[in-house]
Every structure is written in C-alpha cells, then in structure tokens.
Symmetry: C2
Amino acid sequence: MAKVNENFLKLPGSYLFSEIARRVNAYQSAHPEAKLIRLGIGDVTRPLAPAVIEAMHKATDEMAAVETFRGYGPDYGYDFLRDAIAEHDYAGTGIGRDEIFLSDGAKSDCGSIGDIFSVDNVVAVCDPVYPVYVDANAMQGRAGEYVDGRWNKLVYMPCTAENGFVPAIPAQRVDMIYLCCPNNPTGTVLNRGQLQTWVDFANRTGAVILYDSAYEAFITDPDVPHSIYEIPGAKTCAIEFRSFSKTAGFTGNRCAYCVVPKALLVEGVSLNALWARRVGSRFNGVPDVIQRGAQAVYSPEGQRQTRETIAYYQHNARVIREGLAAAGLEVYGGVNAPYIWCNPPEGMSSWDFFDQLLHEANVVTTPGAGFGPSGEGYIRLTAFGDRDATAEAVERVTGLLR
Amino acid sequence: MAKVNENFLKLPGSYLFSEIARRVNAYQSAHPEAKLIRLGIGDVTRPLAPAVIEAMHKATDEMAAVETFRGYGPDYGYDFLRDAIAEHDYAGTGIGRDEIFLSDGAKSDCGSIGDIFSVDNVVAVCDPVYPVYVDANAMQGRAGEYVDGRWNKLVYMPCTAENGFVPAIPAQRVDMIYLCCPNNPTGTVLNRGQLQTWVDFANRTGAVILYDSAYEAFITDPDVPHSIYEIPGAKTCAIEFRSFSKTAGFTGNRCAYCVVPKALLVEGVSLNALWARRVGSRFNGVPDVIQRGAQAVYSPEGQRQTRETIAYYQHNARVIREGLAAAGLEVYGGVNAPYIWCNPPEGMSSWDFFDQLLHEANVVTTPGAGFGPSGEGYIRLTAFGDRDATAEAVERVTGLLR
C-alpha cells in the first residue's frame, strides 16, 4: 500500500496569496461596484519590452519552418543565453557559462535546490520571509513540526525595525541560509559589509548561503551589491537565484536562472555537478521562444527599454513611500526594492489593517503576518501597479488615515 | 556544516543521452565529412502547426500592450487550457478541470510526482525503462543502492520479446508502479484487458499507477486506450502524465500536464490536494504564450494540422519497421508508437551495434542497454526524423546487414 509524504500533512492552511485572493474575491462579489486597486501580489503590469516582443515573434516564426525549427534545447539553457548572462550580469565576478542554469522561475529554483541537500541540514530563514523557502523545505522534511505558528526545526532570524531588518548571525548551528536581497517582503537591503559578515560566517562554518536576488534591478544604492559574487569568498559558499520576472516583466513568460559556482564544495562534493545532474534528470529546459526573449533583454534596446520600466516602478515606490510617510505611518523599503513595508496605525494587526484597506479604501495589500511571525504588525505594498492607480491608492489610504 | 543528498552520489555515470551525444560528437569531430542521420533521441523535427504559430504570435502581441498584458497566470494553468484538455482528451471519462495540472514537461512531472509520496514506498518500473523514472526516484531515496547495474530497492519488471513486452504483476509488495504506454523505449503497448489487470491489482493492494501516456497520439489500435481512465477503476488508483511534446511537436515549447483524480486517496489523503499544494508552492505556471499555443492544438485547424504531422511520423515508423524486418532483424513497436525496438544481428551487444551503426552507416540510434538490464540486446530507433533521411538511414542499415 502506497504512503504519502507525511510532511505535506503538517503544512498549515492555504498558501498566503490564495487566502488573499479568497478575501478579495469575496469582497468584490459582495461589492461589484467597488473599483479595487491591487498593490498586494508582487506582479508586474507593464508590457514586455519591444525588443523582447520582436525576438519572441522571430523565434515563433523560426518554429514554423522545418529549416529553422528547434526541438529539445539543452536542459541547462542555450549557450547564447548563458553567455549573455555571464557577460552582462556577472562581468568581473569570474562566473562563467557552466555555472549558470536556466529555469522556469526563481520560485521553482528556491525549492528545487533543496533536492541536492541532505534532509538533515538545519535551515535558517529570515522572519518575515518569502513563503516558498519555508514551504518547500517543510515538504522536503527539513522544517520539523508546525507548532504555534512556527516550524520547530527551522531557525528564524527576525528582521524588524528594531534591528534595521538585518538578520543576526545565529548562535546555533545552521547549514543552509536563505537570504533575499533586496528583500521580499520588507524591501530592505544588506550592504557590502553586512553581506561580507555572512559570507565569512558561511565559509567558516561550512554553511551554504541560498541568495535570492530576484529584485536586484531595483538597487539604487552603490553600497548594495547586485550579486553576492561581488563579495570576496562568496563563490565557495553561495548559490544565487535570479529571475527575469521583475527585471524584465517576465512573470507571465517564466524564465529565471540559478548560479552554482564550481568552487562551491560541500563535503568535498561539487554542488555544481549535483545541480547539473538534478537539472539534467528532472528538467527539460526553458521554451525556445522564451529564451530568445530573455536574450533580447541584454541587447542595447532591451537594456534601455527594461530600465525605463524599472524607473516607472521606482517612481511608484517613491509615491507610496513618501505618501504613507507623510500620513504618519512608519515606512521601510521602497528605495532599493519594489516593496514598501509599513506599520499599521495604533498597533492594529496585519490582517485587520489588510481588511480595513480592502473594505474602506478598496486597496489590496499583503498582510505582513502572512510572511512569518515577525511580519505581524506590518503590511506590504508593491510598486508594480499602474502609475495613476498607485497615486489614487495612496490618496485613498492617506484619506482614511487623516 | 551542510551535507549533500547522498542519494545523488549513488547515481552511476552520466545520463544516457549525454553519453550518446559524447560518442556522436567524438565521431563527427573525427569525421567532419560524415553525414549523420539521427534516429536516436526522441525529438521531433517537423515545424509547429500553423494554428499554434498564429496563437503564439497573437499571445506575444498581447504581451506588448498594457491593456492585454498578462503577468502571473494560475500555477495550475489557465482554465481555458484545462477546460480544452478535459473536453478533448478526457471526454466521457469524467475527468474535470480541477484534476488537470499544466506543467513544463512530462519529464518534470514524472520526477516531481515523487515529492508527494513517502520515501518508503516500493517503486516498480518496467525494464527497459525511460531513465527519468529511475533517476528521479534514486535521487529521492527510493531506489536504494546501485549494485551490478541494478538498484536494489527497485522492483524491475522485465519486458522482452519472451513475454510480449507485457510486464507481469510482481510477486512482492509494490506501492508505486510506473507504466508507459505506448512504451518508451520498446514502442509496444498494453491493451484494455492487460491494463484492467493492472488497475485491479493496484486497487486491491493500494498501489498507485503512474501512467505515462506521452505517446498516445500514435495509437492506431482501437483496443489500446488513449487514457488509463478509459479503464474502469483507474480513477481510484492512477495518475496520468501527458505531453504536447510528441502530440504537437512541443519539445522546444515545453508544455505538458498531469491528471490527479479527486477520487484517488492514499491513506485517506487526497493526492489531488497534495499535488495542488506541491504545484502551488513550487511552480509558477507555464508561459502564457505557450499555453495559448497549446490551446490552439485543440482548434479544428490545430487538430487537423497536428494529425497530419503524426501521420508523417507514422509513415516513417512503417518505413523503419518494414525495412529492418525485411533485412532479417527482429522488429517490435512502431505500430502504435514512434519507437522501433529491434535486436542487433547475431547476439551483438546494444552498444556494439550502436557503435557499428554510427561508424559504418552514420546512423545514430539508442542502445537498449541504456534503458535497463533487459534492454541489452536491443536498439531503439525513432520515427521523428525527416522522411527522406529516414528512408536513407534504413537503406544504409539494411545495406550493412546484407
């Protein structure tokens, strides 16, 4: 008789964004006339860059003729794209083609990377945290039991206003450390010095840093590295996740990549070789037309066009940040990131403020408590909306607070 | 200090198709003038259907304008595609939208499905077998140790000419049973009666059948079901994997799906709910443009055009099958499948015949031994090539055998 993976039975309730969708749909059904503005889920709204569109059309046409048709591509991604990534995103770091693995998304990679690690490893996550790190590790058996809102085998590293959203080096043993910078959900960052402390710690203890830099395109501060490989020593202790989702609006296009340096050994074993084997046996590559679109992001026109879109979102971030701050809220993030993290007024809970903003301002946010125990007392807003709608949302929220 | 997943260290050598590519590249480098004909890897060569191309162009254009841009789609796939699949591929079976989960490939699904099962389950595979089932389960810890060419915890079900390529019900306990029909690599099939025996066995013992029907579009025999859900009782014991790769030439487009019936319970737990959670937490959907392309496969034009392409490959299969049989080889498959499985002459080994065909006929095949112990003494040829090149390859091979 078959048995299920019992770790799945330990997972609490539904995925955060499903619960938000449920509440939003219930409200909208009851109030069909309400014009909701959605600043909740971190999804882009601007169209793909013209250079990307052109490349996708061209690739589609090539699939229409026998002379130019392409079937299976390499599991790891086409060299033309791996080379473009190495050249543009990793210039000066020494990261090369064979250390870059294309995938369908950073969400997939952040979970799947666990497959090459022992289930006995101790996992550290920031708190609040992007739920995928936690859920994937819980499914794989590294989180233990879920008791009173916490997994008893995970090491939570609180990141709150009190510590400037900088996780402290844990006192106990940790083997796999998820760091997200610029951070989802708080929108805050770690600077070179802070990251160097983590890299040194990981190298000293043999831990591996799982570095999610999906939002690096939003960095404005020169003291915040775009890649962890800008930090000396990172190649022997860190795996990096990147995505075209937020950099180039690919949330509906699905393309990301994971960097596993050849210098990264665990118990003398090359993680690059293990990941190559994992990808080769369990993945079949990114669609041809999508890889061609991603390649176009690195063309001069693609770079200019995607930077314009990032600037559009950065403007929104400033509007939200400054508007809410002027209304008297404590506001964090939004400078090097598309996320704004702020405290509800008068000690209101995350979900209560979420509900109030939904019902009274018709603005959808994300309750901080959904990202972990230390997210309680915050909400997250995203800068990915339409410019006018974002300004309108800020007006509505500040009007409510007056 | 981090530890690796030790199961990875037990995996033997390189993935079959990497080894083939290595030998082919070595030969081609040494003989740049040789005109190789590739009937090895099961990759399509015909262009995408015009209806699919048109839908992909349209979807790409929609991604270029803010009014029609789409970001994240549903993790499980868009309803328009799930509904089309339910209506066309599962009419009369009672399988509905919520039981269908889109993915980037059957290769991914066949491995990832293991995530929802206990590592203590006993896995049965046919021998020879598509290597992904074995490698994925080995990585997940269900295969045990690799000793003398076999994993000591897997149950191998030999499928050879002696038993008509029909796996026998195992005498020992098995919990997860991979069946592939039409079969890769043998090109043979199981008929309704044979599948009913397996469904009854699984329901009686509480085992789950993992049914890979990626090649169902090639079925010509009315006694061979296209879906396992045509067999009474299958919905309480079987998960089915399907793909657009071979049905509609999507090997470079990447789109597949997995069916997990709501009636399928294991230890009283809904596998549909577990898989939904797995997909929701570890996958972010198939690219928008690809789903639109897949939807067009179900349009009247798309159906007609893809059937023409299947007929093209079926013709190739007949040419290979009849040509090799006329030259005196024992030939199997190729009637309900794009694969032809045949014995080398005079008891030659799989790899020796592979090398002979590569060196002396300049034809690339796949050695049967690469698919498992019982594949020794066979080679696989695929019908996915160009029509003229396929005829030429058959000429060369039969010329060699004269």
